[in-house]
């Protein structure tokens, strides 16, 4: 009586998870894949097997430049996030002695998440706008004669908005990795005569790599699919694949949007696989 139950148990335990996984992840993606081959007119789509949607995407210079623009955002946002996250995580880990202070400072990093995305986006206007604080300061200091336009509704604004949003996803895993570094390693290195820079290069950075990889996965995937920030901070004038898809959905061009989604998914999965090839993140889990 006991044996079959024992055999069944793992299956039963895994069933709810599997069903949810199939229903809400696998099934929708399969649907998107199927729909991406359908045909459509202004108001309806018809089941078909047509490469026209993909041909349209690969044949258009606009979609090519949109993809390139998205990669540009990914590189810039990722670079800025790493540049900001490493010093912050280092400071939290090695320069703060008391754990309570460390936790407090870590929580402060979450402040960007305390308000809704839309409110945060709107509040950039009084800061970066033509009559905003930054421009008033620049004018007041006599650094510029005319208000600076490129602070808002520009690529700069888009990258700034996304770094502001996603930085924490880089800080948290890097901080986690650094906290796991065995302090005796550093002491040993010091005893052997390593300089501060050598400690950083030989011990801290290599051992933070898994955290960096996890953070990179977060930041890259989030940036690849981002469209709200791109629309609001870019003033509707900047292009990204996510925004392209959302506009296509808005105009009922589901098959075209699905084809773009499939391409975006493949590219993003490719990037994630590449990251996992380079760094073994299982050490972290």
């Amino acid at each position: 009586m006991n044996r079959p139950w024992k055999t069944l148990q793992p299956y039963l335990l895994a069933t709810p998870q599997t069903l949810i996984f199939l229903m809400f992840l696998v099934f929708p993606i399969v649907m998107i894949f199927i729909v991406s081959f359908w045909e459509f007119n202004g108001y309806a789509m018809t089941p078909a097997f047509s490469w026209a949607n993909y041909a349209g995407i690969f044949g258009s210079s606009v979609s090519l430049s949109t993809y390139l623009n998205t990669f540009k955002y990914v590189v810039l946002v990722w670079g800025a996030c790493v540049a900001i996250a490493l010093p912050i995580a280092y400071y939290l880990t090695f320069c703060i002695e008391r754990n309570s202070v460390r936790i407090l400072l870590f929580l402060i990093c979450t402040i960007p998440f305390w308000t809704s995305n839309i409110i945060r986006m709107i509040s950039w206007i009084p800061l970066l706008g033509r009559g905003g604080l930054v421009n008033q300061a620049l004018l007041g200091l006599g650094l510029v004669q005319q208000p600076v336009d490129w602070l808002l509704y520009s690529d700069f604004a888009v990258v700034l908005g996304m770094v502001h949003l996603f930085n924490f996803f880089m800080i948290a895993p890097v901080f986690n990795s650094m906290m796991r570094i065995d302090r005796t390693l550093i002491t040993a290195a010091r005893d052997m005569g390593a300089s501060g820079f050598e400690v950083l290069k030989e011990i801290i950075l290599p051992l933070s790599a898994p955290g960096l990889a996890i953070g990179t996965i977060f930041v890259v995937t989030l940036t690849m699919g981002e469209y709200v920030t791109v629309r609001l901070m870019g003033g509707g004038q900047s292009a990204s694949v996510g925004k392209l898809i959302s506009t296509q959905i808005g105009s009922l061009q589901y098959p075209l949007a699905a084809a773009n989604a499939v391409i975006l998914l493949i590219i993003t999965l490719g990037l994630v696989t590449a990251i996992l090839r380079v760094v073994d993140i299982r050490k972290e889990l």
Partner: protein, 439 residues
């Protein structure tokens, strides 16, 4: 005991599932008691009492999806109403792809060439609408005192107002007994500007491309509406001409998007907006000084104490019109409730409620009965406000002495030259428009 294998497990599971399903289906379910809400009286006769049990689910854009209207309707009509406020795009998407989600479609006329072919709406019997013959004539007959609106281009309501027959999906160019939408709100749109930041009076659509406003203009990013504003601008600026602005050819679409891309490269636009709030923020912050706008957005800017003019332009206005359509799935008591609602809609209370915000009512004469003489004179007659104009939410929109931009109902609606449009080349237009936005 047999050993469980994966295959065996699946077989057993399927068999068990099938057994349960058969048992459930074979067993006649228990009879629900008669007269409960989900089990209305059988038989074809219509019981007026059933209306009380009805819930009408609305989808629509923000204008009329207002709780005050819902509460008043529930009070006057006795049945329940559920509202869902959506963006123009979401509204169309749900109307077309999810017919089970709504009973009443509160949408715009330009959506109809997309929504009607889906078969999700049923024809409205105009004989059952009490005030139908009092509806503003450019909706019902296409005529309006010989003014330009009669020949307006684009999806003008009269082109999509009637169906050929009760079950037809084809529009009839001449009036029939079967309507697609019952109109209740509409307006004439134009450019809005900040007189304190713009040195001259704006009198033509061409001013949107004036180099003096480089980097300080905006246009709205909804293809069917934005393209009409853009068409008025390029035509007024003498950059190109159209056979029919409301139904462009592929070549015309190519040409106009090329002009727009060129202007974008020159930095003429500060931003594009998609929602009402965005346009208000752009204007009130001074990021943009001249842009395409909706009339309540101008009002919202003014309510913040900032000057904003809704410019009457010499080329004329771009208009939009919204109305109520009925889901094809409705029947019986629900259908009666829908007709009762539409009669109530044209009865004047809603017309006055929307009128105090600057929209026009489909039946101005009933709305007049619910407005004060001063309100009527200001909003419809274009006369100076005798007292402060206060909207239904308590905000003072205009001080005594102010005159409505553009003047009277006839001056504004009569000078409509284009309506928001769905063109034959809609798919191509959307594609090219997206290229312009992404360029």
């Amino acid at each position: 005991m047999p050993k469980f294998t994966r295959r065996r497990l699946i077989q057993t599971g399927l068999a068990a599932g099938a057994a349960v399903a058969t048992a459930r289906c074979g067993n006649p379910s228990e009879e629900a008691p008669l007269g409960t809400p989900n089990n209305p009286a059988t038989g074809p006769e219509v019981n007026a009492n059933n209306i009380k049990d009805v819930t009408l689910r609305f989808i629509g854009t923000g204008v009329a999806q207002v709780n005050d209207i819902r509460d008043k309707a529930q009070e006057d009509l006795g049945f329940k109403i559920e509202l869902k406020a959506l963006s123009t795009e979401e509204n169309n998407q749900i109307a077309i792809s999810q017919p089970g989600q709504y009973d009443m479609f509160d949408g715009e006329y330009f959506s109809l060439p997309l929504v009607i072919p889906s078969g999700n709406l049923q024809a409205i019997d105009v004989k059952r609408i009490k005030n139908f013959d009092k509806i503003a004539s450019f909706f019902t007959t296409g005529e309006f005192n010989g003014l330009p609106v009669e020949n307006a281009q684009g999806t003008s309501p009269i082109k999509v107002m009637y169906l050929k027959d009760k079950d037809s999906k084809e529009f009839s160019p001449t009036p029939t007994d079967w309507a697609t939408l019952i109109p209740f709100q509409y307006n004439a749109d134009t450019l809005g500007y900040r007189p304190d930041l713009v040195s001259k009076e704006i009198s033509s659509w061409a001013d949107l491309f004036d180099p003096a406003f480089n980097g300080k203009t905006s246009i709205l990013d909804i293809p069917s509406i934005g393209i009409m504003d853009a068409a008025l601008v390029v035509e007024a600026a003498g950059l190109m001409t159209f056979g029919d602005k409301g139904n462009m050819t592929k070549e015309e679409i190519d040409q106009i998007t090329d002009i727009l891309k060129e202007k974008k490269r020159e930095g003429q636009f500060r931003a594009f907006w998609k929602t009402f709030d965005e346009s208000v923020n752009l204007m009130s912050s001074g990021e943009v000084v001249l842009q395409s706008m909706w009339s309540p957005a101008v009002t919202a800017v003014k309510a913040q104490g900032i000057q904003c003019i809704y410019a009457p332009l010499k080329e004329g206005y771009r208009a939009w019109g919204g109305g109520i359509g009925m889901s094809a799935a409705m029947e019986g008591a629900k259908l009666d409730a829908a007709y009762a609602y539409m009669d109530w809609l044209l009865d004047g209370w809603v017309g006055a409620f929307l009128g105090r915000q600057g929209y026009y009512s489909a039946v101005p004469e009933t709305a007049k009965q619910f407005m004060s003489a001063e309100e009527w004179d200001f909003w419809y007659e274009g006369k100076p406000a005798a007292v402060d104009m206060v909207d239904p939410f308590g905000t003072t929109l205009e001080k005594a002495g102010a005159v409505r931009d553009g003047g009277s109902f006839e001056e504004r609606m009569g000078n409509v030259v284009v309506w928001n449009s769905t063109m034959d080349e809609q798919v191509y237009l959307v594609q090219k428009w997206n290229e312009f936005i992404a360029a």
